[in-house]
C-alpha cells in the first residue's frame, strides 16, 4: 500500500479508535468521551466510521452506541462451526418482531396479534437474551407491564435505530401496525361509502366459490 496510509490520524481519532478496539461492549459517544477525559468525540467517530467503511472491519453505530465489527460481506469466511447465536423458536421470533414493531406493547396486545397465548417462557427467553425488557406499566385497568426492545437488540440485529427495522415504514403506511379496531373502523367507513366493489372482505368471493 501507498503513502496515503502514512497520514497519521490525529491523536483524538487514534484514542477513540484504540478505546473502541479495546472495549468489550459497545460504547456511547458519551461513555467514550468520559473515558477520554471529556473530549468531544463526535467528529472523531464520524472520521473513523468513514475510514473503516471499506475495510474488513467496520465501525458501526447501533442504538447510539458504537462498536467495531467485521464486515457483513465476509460472514461466509468467519462463520464458525460452533453456532454462537441462539436459535429462537418460531414463537420467540414472532414475539420479538411484535415487540420491536409495536413497542411498547403489553402481553395481551402480543397475544391479540398472534391469536394464541404467549407462554411465560417466551418473553423470558427474549429478556434473558437481553433483547427485550420491561419498560413500565400501561395505565389501564390491571396496569399490565409493557415491553420494549433494548440497545442490545439493535446491536445484535445490526440496526442503527428502530427506524431501520425492515419494512417498518411500509407497514406503518399500510396501517398494519395499528390495532385491528382502528383499521376496522376506517374500513367500515369506506365500505359504507361504496359498498358494491369494496366488499372484498367476503362477498366478492361469494361468486368465486359459489
Amino acid at each position: 500500500m501507498s503513502e496515503q496510509h502514512a497520514v497519521r490520524p490525529d491523536d483524538l481519532v487514534r484514542a477513540v479508535e484504540a478505546t473502541l478496539f479495546a472495549a468489550t461492549e459497545p460504547m456511547s459517544a458519551e461513555a467514550i468521551s468520559v473515558h477520554l477525559g471529556g473530549a468531544d468525540v463526535k467528529a472523531a467517530l464520524a472520521e473513523l466510521e468513514q475510514a473503516y467503511r471499506e475495510r474488513g472491519v467496520q465501525l458501526v453505530e447501533r442504538g447510539k452506541r458504537w462498536h467495531f465489527q467485521t464486515a457483513p460481506d465476509l460472514a461466509h469466511l468467519l462463520r464458525r462451526e460452533r453456532e454462537e447465536v441462539r436459535r429462537l423458536s418460531r414463537a420467540a421470533t414472532e414475539v420479538l418482531a411484535i415487540v420491536a414493531y409495536h413497542e411498547p406493547v403489553s402481553r395481551a396486545e402480543i397475544e391479540a396479534i398472534r391469536g394464541v397465548q404467549t407462554a411465560k417462557g417466551t418473553l423470558d427467553v427474549l429478556m434473558e437474551a437481553g433483547w427485550v425488557r420491561i419498560v413500565g406499566r400501561r395505565e389501564v385497568p390491571g396496569r399490565p407491564v409493557i415491553y420494549a426492545t433494548t440497545p442490545d437488540f439493535l446491536t445484535h440485529f445490526g440496526l442503527e435505530s428502530r427506524r431501520d427495522l425492515p419494512g417498518i415504514d411500509e407497514l406503518r403506511a399500510a396501517g398494519l401496525l395499528d390495532p385491528v379496531e382502528d383499521a376496522l373502523a376506517e374500513a367500515m367507513a369506506t365500505v359504507g361509502g361504496d359498498q358494491d366493489d369494496e366488499s372484498d372482505a367476503g362477498l366478492a368471493s361469494e361468486e368465486e366459490s359459489a
Partner: protein, 268 residues
Amino acid sequence: MTEDGLIDSPAVTFAEDDWQGVASAASEDAALYLELDGWEGPLDLLLDLARRQKVDLRRISILELVDQYLTYIEQAEALRLELAADYLVMAAWLAYLKSALLLPRDEQADPSPEELALRLQLRLQRLAAMRDAAARLMGRDRLGRDTFMRGAPEGLRVDRKSLWQCDWFALVQAYGQVKARTAPVVHMVRDRMVMTLDSALSRVSSMLGVNLDWMELREFLPPHADPKLRKSALASSFVAALELARLGKAEISQDHTFGPLRLRGIRA
C-alpha cells in the same frame, strides 16, 4: 394452544426457514396436513390456509378460507385426532360466519358478517406482517453469526482511587465522643421523697396504741400534698401493717376484694 418458548427445540422451525413449509408441501395428503403441532393455534392455521390461496391477503376469499378450515377440522375429526378446544371454537365461529355471509343481506345481525369477516382478514394481515417482519429480522446480518466483534479485546479498566474526605469538626467531635465514651461515668441517684419502712412501722404501731377501734389504713398516712410521698407512705404503711400482724400486734380485715383495709391493735 400454547407455544413452546424453548430454544433449540427440534420441532421448532428456525425463522429463516420457510414458514410456509407445511403449506408449500400442499398436496391433499391428509397425513401431512394434519400435523397440528405445526400450527400455533387456529389463527396460524388460517393464515397458512389463506396463503395457499396464493393471493394478496387483502383479496383473500374468506368463504373459501372458511371452507378449507372446516374441511380440515372435519378431516381431523374423521381421523379421530384430538383437537385442541380453540380449533373447535374457531370452527364453530367460522361456520356461523359462513352461514351469516350467505344469508340475504336484510336479515343480517349486528355486527354484520361483513364486519366479522373483515376483522378476521385484518387479523390475518397483521399476523402475516409480523411473521414476515420476524423472518426479515432474523435474516439480517446478526452479530455473532454474520458479523463479529473483536475476538480478544483488551478491555477498558477503570481503577478507582479513593479520595478520602473528613473535616475539622468531624475530627474534633469524634475525639470528644471517644473521651466522653471512655470517661469514668459517675452515677447520680436523685433524692426522692419516700417514707421508710422503719418510720411507717413506728408511726402505725404508735397510732394503733392510742386507738382501740378499727381504722382504715389510709387514716394512718401522714397528711401530705405530694402524691409521690403518699404512694410511698401507703406502700410502707401496708408493709408495716403486715409486719405488725405477723408479730401479733395487730389484726387486719378487708370486707371485700379491693375494699378498704382496716387495722386494729391487739392488746396483749
